[in-house]
Subunit: 192 residues, 2 copies
DNA sequence: TACCGCATGTAAACGGTTACATGATTAC
DNA sequence: GTAATCATGTAACCGTTTACATGCGGTA
């Protein structure tokens, strides 16, 4: 099954919040399963195994009384370094939404500047796409078919909404209240 | 690999608009490459080969003068039937955004009722997700970490925007002007 | 000369899902 | 008694991307 790649970093990030079992990881993500496609156990467990092999996590088997025994994974120092390196490299210009969201979920592990950079990077990408959609929308001379027109409108509506959210959030980050929390959050977990 | 979005059906749908080569298909999709992940040639060409084997499309090799020869694919009657069956079955409740968008792009091949049903089905799914996000947002007692809060807000903003667009579009469909166009569009291509 | 756009194609690797197996405990 | 939740794991399969190969014509 080769080596799972991107999901491994994400798991690493989740483990910085607290040591967890594979089952826990899946459960903690379920509320966001519309945004992120929650990985199946068939990819989750093997990923944990390879992380363990690579020394990026450690296990502790906790024999639950009257429950099945659970394997609690904790991130190691080596794992923190790998995670840090991954978080610092910017998302590829044509990356999927998921790549953006994984880092957003782990936002607590970014410095204030890191979070701002992440949101601004996304902002640039969405703005570019919005522009591209607008251009194709104006350049199509009415004769284009219904489906394409609807889809273009859909894309524009979502891009605009996302830009609004990004601007809102970036604005809040400029205010002291949220900034303070960013500082607290990142110092509590992983200082970048 | 994500969820099987069945690129074959989508290609079939695009070919109803006009006969095209594999290269054309890719080019025609490029303007939407933010919404749909445009399939690579490595999946596009083999898909066309299997469609040809199954008799759902036909080829005509057009030797371009001073250009490389092009293979123009046309959908067959059998292909139309397969496409029709696919378009009529509703999208799975946990399907990806791509599954919704593929059918939206091919909206011209849906009857007026089919398009409305498609949008209403999506509406129900997004509304359900919005509700779920709101519930987790209210049930988290302030102590939840920054990343999760941001992601929740992001999801809610996008879900709300999508619901607005869906309601807008459904409202327009109720008006005669657009409805007439749906009728024209579907009769011109594939009567469902 | 070298590279880009056009145009088609193939093989290997990849990153995942599905389906299955196991087994204990609680709830209807 | 049987279904559901908890909990871990494996193997087969799947659709797709990546990287490569080919070749022609225009352009910097």
């Amino acid at each position: 099954m080769a080596k799972p790649a991107s999901i491994r970093h994400f798991i690493l990030g989740l483990l910085t919040q607290e040591p967890m079992s594979g089952y826990d990881i899946k459960r903690s993500l379920n509320s966001l399963n519309w945004l992120i496609e929650v990985p199946s156990f068939g990819s989750l467990y093997p990923a944990l195994h390879t992380l363990l092999e690579d020394g990026l996590v450690t296990v502790e088997v906790v024999p639950g009384q009257d429950r099945p025994p659970r394997k609690i994974y904790s991130i190691t120092e080596a794992g923190r370094q790998v995670l840090q390196a991954w978080m610092q490299q910017p998302v590829a210009p044509n990356a999927s939404l998921k790549a953006f969201l994984m880092r957003l979920i782990l936002a607590g592990h970014l410095s204030g500047d890191g979070l701002r950079a992440h949101l601004e990077g996304r902002r640039a990408q969405v703005a570019a796409q919005q522009l591209a959609l607008e251009q194709t929308a104006t350049s199509m001379n009415g004769s284009t078919n219904l489906g394409e027109r609807l889809t273009l409108g859909y894309g524009l509506a979502l891009a605009t909404a996302e830009l609004n959210w990004l601007d809102d959030t970036l604005g809040q980050l400029a205010q002291p209240s949220l900034s303070a929390e960013v500082a607290r959050s990142s110092s509590a977990a992983l200082v970048v």
